[in-house]
């Protein structure tokens, strides 16, 4: 049963990624990413990481992609040219990515790892409390540094978004007109 779910959801995840890459519509791309992130959240549940699954839905699907949608709304739905000014870029990119897949997939064979099956893992493994205990003891310094990073990112985004933080090309042209 879980094997069937895995295969179906893998197809959905890869299909959503393909919609993002080959779609002509940016909004459809963002919505495909919502599907992809939700599917990956289900994978997290199957891998006994319910806390990560919840954070995935709340932070990724809920916050980050909504931010993306706002920006798409702000700028109009212009996907840009699908293909490039350089004619070789598309086939070259596809060839390189196929090579990457051929190189990566054999590396993923991990039969020499412990290969623990799901039933052997105790309930405390998927308990968010164990994760929290680890975060606030062993990883307390990274948690604090991340807090600082989030503050810096917030300030940075506000500064960049402020009107008058930089001069647009149009303003420069207007200034030149005034001089003339």
């Amino acid at each position: 049963m879980s094997a069937l779910i895995f295969w179906l959801l893998s197809i959905v995840a890869i299909g959503a990624a393909l919609v993002l890459i080959f779609g002509r519509n940016t909004v459809h791309g963002v919505l495909a990413m919502v599907v992809n992130f939700a599917v990956v959240a289900v994978f997290y549940l199957m891998l006994q990481a319910p806390f990560i699954a919840a954070v995935q839905v709340i932070v990724y699907a809920g916050a980050i992609l909504v931010l993306f949608l706002f920006v798409v709304m702000l700028m109009g739905n212009d996907p840009g040219p699908l293909w490039e000014h350089l004619a070789v870029q598309r086939p070259a990119a596809i060839l390189l990515v196929l090579l990457l897949i051929v190189a990566l997939v054999p590396m993923m064979d991990v039969r020499n790892l412990t290969g623990v099956t799901a039933t052997l893992i105790g309930p405390e493994f998927s308990d968010p409390a164990s994760l929290a205990r680890l975060l606030y003891s062993e990883y307390i310094l990274p948690v604090e540094v991340t807090a600082l990073l989030l503050l810096a990112a917030t300030v940075g985004a506000v500064v960049l978004g402020r009107r008058g933080a930089y001069r647009t090309k149009r303003e420069e042209v207007l200034d030149l007109d005034e001089v003339v």
Partner: protein
């Protein structure tokens, strides 16, 4: 047949590798800044999936802690990155990253 009915860590890692490669394809192929940025998120997500799969394989929560930090840093990155894209758009009126050649010497 057993490879189809028994889902192991290897299956998750291969799926993660494929999703990562598709993210690379998106960044290499598309010129829209937003699509390229979303492809980067796709890659981060694929790596997260392999972290969680290996965390279960090794029965260690450290992998999940790393995923937690990756998500936090991704949120910060998206906030600043989208602010940059909006600034870029306000300045040039497009999100085509080929137009970003102002800094050429």
């Amino acid at each position: 047949m057993e490879a189809l009915t028994t889902i192991t860590t290897t299956h998750y890692l291969i799926l993660s590798a494929i999703l990562f490669s598709l993210g690379v394809l998106g960044v290499l192929m598309r010129r829209s800044a937003i699509i390229a940025f979303l492809s980067i998120e796709l890659m981060l997500n694929a790596v997260n999936l392999s972290f969680v799969a290996l965390a279960r394989d090794l029965v260690s929560l450290d992998g999940q802690v790393v995923v937690f930090f990756v998500m936090t840093v991704a949120a910060a990155e998206v906030a600043v990155g989208l602010a940059l894209i909006v600034a870029f758009y306000r300045s040039l009126g497009t999100t085509d990253i080929d137009e970003a050649h102002e800094l050429y010497g």
